[in-house]
């Protein structure tokens, strides 16, 4: 159900690149990508996943996952760990640790610490481990500066380099507004997926466009990139991808 979009993005493999960044343009919703990747990682045997919920709370991913054919509740506490920042803030109000500088730590520092703790406690038992962060722009909304968010992403990229088979996937919405941060974070990784809206208007058959950029050769002179563009349509229980020009006006 999500196989086609993962195949198009090159995310259907068991071993993923160390750092992947998803850029979402304004007024377009790329949450389906997180749900698709989450389902794929959960289905891999003995693969750990950590979901950091900043944009939606855990219940949303559960419901979206049920539409795609997987049940996150089965995996939660076993191969799936969740840091639900949104629910924490709702439950604790203004006293939430995410809003107060507990022990002199900023929001991003606390988040990195929590992620590290989860990785260290679960990584050893897993063949691979994936950290999904949805969505970096919420950190800006909660008062983090560009420098703090950049440092946060660099810490995660460093964590991915320290450990083999650890993948970090970040998503940033309103990437056209946070262009500098978006470009800097994308440079940390090997794969960048841009979720773009159709510039010429609204179309019933297509929701938007995915632009996938991948660094081919890693090394001292890694500069070759491939670019691929596909169109996508999010349906009730699956996501379809099309090549540009495949959808036309039907007479």
């Amino acid at each position: 159900m999500a196989t086609s979009v993962l195949l198009a993005c090159g995310l259907n493999e068991q071993k993923l690149p160390g750092f992947i960044h998803i850029s979402e343009e304004s007024n377009v919703d790329g949450s389906f990508l997180i749900s698709c990747v989450l389902g794929q990682r959960l289905r891999i045997s003995n693969a750990g996943t950590l979901l950091v919920c900043l944009q939606h709370h855990y219940q949303h991913y559960f419901n979206a996952g049920m539409r795609l054919g997987y049940n996150t509740n089965i995996f939660q506490g076993k191969t799936l760990g969740v840091i639900d920042v949104l629910s924490d803030m709702a439950g604790e109000g203004l006293a939430s640790k995410w809003l107060t500088n507990t022990e002199g730590q900023t929001l991003t520092e606390q988040l990195v610490e929590d992620i590290r703790a989860q990785v260290e406690s679960n990584y050893a038992n897993r063949n691979s481990y994936t950290v999904l962060i949805d969505n970096l722009s919420i950190l800006f909304n909660l008062g983090a500066s560009k420098l703090q968010v950049q440092q946060f992403c660099q810490d995660l990229a460093a964590l991915a380099k320290e450990r083999e088979n650890l993948t970090v996937i970040t998503k940033l919405s309103n990437s056209d507004i946070y262009q500098l941060t978006d470009n800097n974070v994308a440079k940390l990784g090997q794969v960048r997926i841009q979720v773009l809206r159709l510039k010429s208007g609204v179309f019933r058959e297509v929701d938007g466009k995915l632009l996938i950029e991948r660094v081919l050769d890693e090394g001292n002179y890694a500069c070759e990139e491939t670019r691929k563009e596909v169109l996508y349509k999010v349906n009730d229980r699956n996501v379809k991808v099309f090549a540009p020009g495949e959808i036309g006006v039907k007479v």
Partner: protein, 436 residues
């Protein structure tokens, strides 16, 4: 031993139903036409943003529909505003139509459609075809209201309502008929300053005037002990945490408003997954110039983020109206940031004061309705309306949203509708080639 298990069907929350398309619990926005546009109703935990028109008249009508629906469905209501007097707004809610009136209205509409049968002399073959009704008001949930008449104030007796307007003397009014019976100390009792030229709200708790200073001291002292679910500002006794909480917002109004909302939403009636009750949060003219200060953008975005967190985590829906045209002038980058934090962003573009007001192509309509955002909450795919070209009409008795369509013939050939209509029907970045 039989394997038969009796299926226990839980009663749905008043005023809600399960959407057959997304299996989500949805509730009416109050306006049946808007419900059709957004896929049947507002999903639980969603925030709907109405971007106000220039003169703010039409957005307030939708807010009144939202509140009136909550009153009729006996859902709990939170109403906050700096620009309006919440108590006054509650008193002027539209009256719901009775079943008989609704039937008569639909009969009148059907007769009006049928009357066209005798009007076709040339294209008489079209008589047998069903008429295209642009007004899709299939109200499976929700009610119809008459904007000409006000709701009976006695209806407010059955509804728990919390009002917020940041008034120093008039902080909160809790209208709760069963307050004395309730064992939950979630709603603190505060004094009320009577509104000028308005009868007292039925059921409101009013403290005697001479006790106001003592009452204030008592309430401020009791806030820390009274409310188990109160926000951490009132319940925390640690000075350090209080200081850090004060730093969350630069403008204390946001903190006060958020505290009150979170305090209400933490009530056990609204726990997510239970079928107790639904809370409707309505904030009108949020982000208006009365909210401006040095850190306006920062505080507003943070407030909306925390509001989103609170609304999503419980049985509630939220409707916010904002003067986006003013916010865009303040800082254009705030507009997409705000839209990203809500689930539905609907802009009302009124024709009042513009050249379209007198244009023959738009004479039937009061303005255009732009759907800037509809997001999938608790599901994968979002419901898309039949067409994004929508217009609204504010009639005497109702607010109608329908497909925008041009009249069959423009009388004045000298008037060039191309400039208006081409700008309307095409996107601003339209190019010659289609982007798919």
């Amino acid at each position: 031993m039989t394997s038969f298990r009796k299926r226990t069907v839980q009663k749905p929350i008043r005023g809600t139903r399960t959407s057959p398309h997304t299996a989500q619990v949805i509730t009416s926005s109050g306006n049946p036409y808007l419900d059709v546009v957004i896929g049947g109703g507002l999903p639980m935990g969603s925030i709907c943003l109405i971007e106000e028109d220039r003169f703010m008249t039409h957005a307030k009508v939708l807010a009144k529909y939202f509140l009136a629906e909550g009153v009729i469905s006996k859902q709990e209501i939170f109403l906050g505003s700096l620009d309006d007097i919440p108590a006054e707004m509650l008193r002027r809610l539209p009256r719901p139509l009775t079943d008989q009136e609704s039937m008569e209205q639909s009969e009148v509409q059907a007769l009006g459609d049928g009357g066209a049968e005798n009007g076709l002399r040339i294209a008489w073959r079209y008589n047998d075809l069903p008429l295209v009704n642009s007004e899709h008001a299939t109200a499976k949930i929700g009610h119809h209201f008459n904007l000409m008449e006000q709701m009976d104030s006695m209806m407010l007796y059955n509804v728990k309502t919390t009002l917020w307007d940041d008034s120093p003397k008039h902080l909160d009014i809790v209208i709760d008929e069963e307050f004395s019976k309730s064992s939950s100390p979630t709603t603190p009792l505060l004094e009320q300053q009577p509104v000028e030229d308005a009868p007292p709200i039925p059921g409101a708790e009013i403290a005697p005037q001479e006790k106001i200073p003592a009452q204030e001291e008592e309430n401020s002292a009791n806030n820390n002990n009274n409310n188990n679910n109160s926000s951490s500002v009132t319940s925390s006794t640690k000075t350090g945490s209080q200081e850090s909480q004060l730093q969350v917002f630069h403008n204390p109004r946001y903190k006060g408003l958020l505290n009150d909302i979170q305090q209400l939403l933490r009530n056990e009636s609204f726990v997510a997954g239970t079928k107790n009750n639904l809370c409707r949060v309505c904030l009108t003219s949020l982000g208006s110039p009365l909210w401006y200060d040095e850190h306006f953008g920062e505080d507003l975005i943070k407030f909306l983020t925390l509001l989103m967190a609170s609304v999503r985590s419980c049985n509630s829906v939220c409707l916010i109206t904002m003067p986006m045209h003013l916010i865009a002038k303040y800082d254009a980058s705030l507009v997409p940031k705000i839209r990203q934090l809500v689930d539905y962003a609907i802009e009302l573009e009124s024709f009042a004061g513009s050249e379209r007001e007198t244009h023959p192509a738009f004479k039937e309509y009061s303005g255009l309705l732009h759907l800037h955002k509809m997001s999938a909450i608790n599901t994968l795919a979002v419901h898309m309306p039949e067409t994004p070209d929508l217009a609204f009409k504010l009639r005497r008795k109702k607010f109608i949203i329908e497909k925008f369509h041009l009249p069959p013939e423009l009388q004045e050939s000298s008037a060039k509708p191309d400039n208006c209509i081409s700008g309307l029907l095409s996107n601003s970045n339209a190019t010659a080639s289609l982007d798919f």
